[in-house]
Amino acid sequence: VAVALGPSRRRSDSVLRWRIRHQLAFALCWSAGLALCAIAVAIVGFMAYKGAQYLRPALLVEHPQPGLDQAQTGGFLDPILGTALLTVIAILVATPIAVGTAVWIVEYGRPRWLARVIESAIEVVAGTPDIVIAIFGLAIFQLPLLAPLSFTASGGGVFGRSFFAAGAMMSLIALPMVYGSTREGLLAIPARMREASWALGKTRICTIREVLLPQVRRNVATGATLGMGRIVGDTAVVVILLGASLQLDPEGNVPGVNVLRGTGATLTTYVYNTSPAGEGNAPQKAYAAAVVLLAIVLVLNGAVALIGRRS
């Protein structure tokens, strides 16, 4: 009989010989893990099925129209554009701030107490519900000072709703993810890299720019992609700060800027409003838009995995 060498625990530790209580617990753990898999598969499978049923290419390029009959309410071109525009604005605002903050905290971080305060501030932002961030944004963008950045009523009332407002607040949602990922990357760079650069007479900022930042590019990309996933999937900020109007609704007459000052919708609010919970009860449209939304989120998720695997 061969003497078991190496990991022989498995053979002697057969589940069949355990006490019944332990076997039950073992079965419970297995079923919990498999149940989660089943839920994930069920959600994706169900949405794919609904997509095959209701998603038509025409829906992607038609403007939405108000109407009671689902056959006449058009597609969801505007919400798709809204999602894209909002994501771009928010990530363009969030990335430089997050990277700058991470660099300062890791590479300078003096005075120490200030660095600690800022680190906790980012934790607080990460833990704040999106709806609270949205309502905070409303308070800021309704200030008369910022009125030119948003939709203004004919009577002069400032609504504080625009792509500017929503994008700024969305950047606050994406910021902790970009920051966390960049910080991890910077911390993982060995000290000798910096020391070698300093020894060659480079200043700290030059080291950061030419040695450190190129190395954390991948981390920044991961964080930005994760942040984009959060932005694309967020509903509350859009409902409160973008107005969730059916079509893009430009404000003023400067081309380009008027869209940014105007209100609009994203896929999330389109799904919200066309579901039975919203005003326009059109479940087929809601399913179709939700499939597109889920596909975008899955692609972003896949991108994160891909970026992670290359390193």
């Binding site: 300078y108 800021i140 900022i205 409902v239 799904v271």
Partner: protein, 324 residues
């Protein structure tokens, strides 16, 4: 060409950028508190939280009070909403805790490597699904199922004078919320279980403990602080869930009554966050606005407290030198 930054300039400029984030948090607390003040002041502080009447009708009445509402117009008793928030989050966290603990042990201790390579991405996917999609599935699939198959005619009749039972309910909200917060808890618990020094588990195995006993008596016990932290952070997440709850919970400021027996779980609720989303249309009425900011302040302070709680809960692990 621009002269390159000197070190001092760079430090100051990057520091200023970092300070922006701190300022944003300060501004958030200040703005929300100032805007919430009228509602809290006119309701005598603590009474604001108490029971008394239906917040839906109270908010409805506020819309009609015009641009310069009298003090009496701010009357609000938010208890049904607070109760709804506590019920949905509480049920979801309790259910999610057991679920995520079992799943985490499965991932770390029992799952064969090929299976683990499927389970982990599946859980990451569950975490990435937007809440509006959970809400859509809840309202179009789960709620009709509950309404048709789980609520008996007799039960519907017995409560017909109190509230209409149509499937959108506390039960659906709690179930969907459980699925949403479980991935968050699993991520934290799995990290902690992985960080257990192998010497501890190997020691237990050498003493004759089987794999379950090793997992339960050594790993889970050592990771207890992380489990508490997971529960606390998941609680913070579920307090702030607005859109999904507003879609599936029946969206009425109704306080489910435990005396109704099993019907309790089929009754509609609405959380604070969901109320905020739904009242967004009426926000130009000053009284409604102040009430909404008061809800926001309550959520902000609770999530702040829970974040600190999560940090404190993890301290024992840090002291042992684990990175969590």
């Amino acid at each position: 060409m621009r002269a390159p930054w000197t070190d001092q300039q760079a430090e100051r400029r990057l520091g200023a950028v970092a300070c922006l984030v701190g300022l944003a948090v300060l501004a958030m607390v200040a703005f929300v508190a100032v805007k919430a003040w009228p509602s809290l002041a006119h309701n005598h502080g603590v009474a604001w939280l108490g029971p008394g009447g239906n917040p839906d009708t109270q908010l409805g009445a506020m819309i009609k009070t015009g641009q310069h509402p009298p003090a009496a117009a701010y009357h609000l008793r938010a208890w049904p909403l607070v109760y709804g928030t506590l019920l949905t989050s509480g049920l979801a966290v309790v259910a999610g805790l057991g679920f995520s603990l079992a799943a985490s042990i499965f991932i770390v201790e029992f799952a064969p490597a090929p299976l683990r390579a499927i389970v982990v991405p599946a859980i990451r996917l569950l975490a990435a699904v937007p809440s509006v999609i959970y809400g859509l599935i809840g309202i179009l699939v789960l709620a009709p199922f509950v309404g048709r198959h789980l609520i008996t005619e007799q039960r519907r009749h017995s409560l017909a004078y109190v509230v209409q039972l149509d499937g959108t309910s506390l039960l659906v909200a709690a179930v969907v919320l459980t699925v949403m917060i479980t991935p968050i808890m699993i991520a934290i618990v799995v990290d902690a279980l992985r960080a257990i020094p192998p010497a501890w588990t190997e020691g237990a195995a050498a003493l004759g403990a089987n794999r379950w006993e090793v997992a339960w008596t050594v790993s889970v016990r050592a990771a207890r602080p992380a489990i508490v932290a997971a529960a606390v952070l998941a609680c913070a997440r579920s307090l702030g869930e607005a859109v999904m709850i507003s879609m599936v919970s029946g969206s009425r400021a109704f306080a489910p009554n435990l005396l109704d027996g099993v019907s309790f779980v089929f009754e509609p609720v609405r959380s604070l966050a969901a109320t905020m989303v739904e009242s967004a249309d009426a926000i130009n009425a000053p009284a409604v606005k102040s009430s909404i900011y008061a809800f926001a302040l309550l959520l902000l302070l609770s999530s702040l407290a829970l974040s600190i709680g999560g940090y404190i809960a993890k301290l024992p692990l840090r002291r042992q030198g684990m990175r969590v």
